[in-house]
């Protein structure tokens, strides 16, 4: 994918995250709206159809059974092709749960005995939606793992690029979803605890913005690293023994090292700044973190660079054997 296209897609995602926060107010409410989609909507439609008359009721029943049996039908299709595997058992579980979930969403009164919370219907929809998605995601992951094991190197590199694309989306969500949500939450907490505007409030807001920037630094650096990883994958696909691979790997290891240094310096800077400005801050948060994952990444990339260089030397040597 071209960098401009990628930037455009990620910008759209960032915008959607911000819009979701504007519309729903908090991430929790946005999550609540999304997690039960489209099951809640299907159930609402089926309920309306069922209440419309006897014919509508029959059609609703047929649609209800068809939708619930879809995973089981897919399993039968795979069994007919003698292509079924262990993970396909999840399709049976998914069908059973769809029967139960859709029935409860159509008749929410039956949820009363299932949960101890005050808003039983909301809790029921979230629980059922989350469980359904957990099974769906689990099934997809198992299928992917099985495919990875039997794939050639070129295909594995393609799958790696796809997963890295997903990582882009997750990281953008971390910055523009979780990050902004956290910032808004901190601002609201500060406002609730301090009704009068003062210079201390201004200083505290400034540091809240700095902490937001610090929070988004790691995902932003990870995005840059993933971009370089994608470039490395492209040259690996082209010729895994070329000088370009070693060059890109060295660039990547350099970037990983710089990102660790930058993060550590940022933590030190923000902690020292808050310490010095403590007298003027209504709210402060000190970060003491070992960037273990980042350091592991540096080591892994350095090792890979050396393995690539060794591989190229071995190939050159091997080429001299006629």
């Amino acid at each position: 994918m071209k960098p401009k296209t990628l930037f455009l897609i990620l910008s759209v995602e960032a915008t959607l995250c911000v819009f979701a926060l504007i519309i729903y107010g908090t991430l929790q409410q946005a999550y609540t709206a999304i997690i039960a989609f489209p099951f809640t909507q299907i159930a609402t439609g089926l309920r309306a159809l069922s209440l419309s008359g006897s014919i509508g009721n029959i059609i609703a029943l047929l649609i209800y059974v068809s939708v619930s049996l879809l995973p089981a039908i897919y399993l039968c299709f795979r069994m007919a092709r003698n292509n079924h595997k262990q993970e396909d058992l999840l399709l049976v579980l998914l069908s059973i749960l769809l029967f139960v979930a859709l029935y409860l969403m159509i008749n929410p009164a039956y949820m009363n005995d299932m949960f101890a919370t005050s808003d039983v219907v909301l809790m029921g929809k979230i629980s059922l939606g989350a469980t359904l998605y957990a099974i769906i995601i689990g099934y997809i992951v198992f299928r992917c793992l099985r495919k990875f094991v039997v794939s050639e190197i070129t295909n594995l590199l393609d799958y790696l690029k796809m997963l890295l694309m997903l990582m882009y989306f997750i990281l953008i969500y971390k910055i523009f979803g979780e990050g902004i949500n956290g910032l808004i939450s901190n601002i609201n907490t500060l406002k609730a605890g301090n009704t009068e505007m003062s210079s201390m409030m201004t200083t505290t807001y400034f540091f809240l913005a700095i902490r937001f920037a610090l929070y988004t630094l790691q995902p932003a650096l990870t995005i840059a690293i993933i971009f370089f990883v994608n470039q490395l994958i492209d040259v690996l696909k082209n010729d895994r023994y070329s000088d370009d691979v070693i060059c890109k790997a060295n660039q990547l290891s350099g970037l990983c090292k710089k990102s660790v240094v930058l993060m550590i310096l940022s933590y030190i800077l923000i902690n020292v700044s808050q310490l010095l400005m403590g007298k003027y801050l209504l709210d402060s948060h000190y970060t003491t973190e070992i960037p273990l994952f980042s350091m592991l990444l540096v080591l892994v990339v350095l090792l890979l660079s050396k393995y690539f260089a060794e591989g190229k030397a071995l190939k050159n040597d091997n080429d001299m054997f006629i």
Partner: protein, 77 residues
């Protein structure tokens, strides 16, 4: 190099071109050129087998030992 390559001489004797030999033993002309020039680090038994078969010669006709150790030869040079 301590092991001398006389492939050129054998090709002339057998009146075969390097291009024909490459086609028979299924290696590229670039690789054969590396072998002829003495820059190769080694030759696989399979390749030697094919060369000897198609040129109808012995290994000793193609490869000769000049009596030196390769490190010593490099020092004296």
């Amino acid at each position: 190099m301590a092991i001398q390559i006389y492939l050129e001489d054998v090709l002339k004797e057998k009146k075969m071109t390097s291009k024909d030999l490459c086609a028979l033993i299924n290696i590229t002309e670039a690789n054969l050129s590396i072998l002829r020039s003495g820059k190769a680090k080694g030759v696989r038994f399979g390749t030697i087998n094919k060369i000897c078969y198609y040129l109808n010669c012995e290994i000793g006709d193609i490869l000769k030992f000049d009596g030196n150790l390769e490190e010593e030869e490099n020092e004296s040079n």
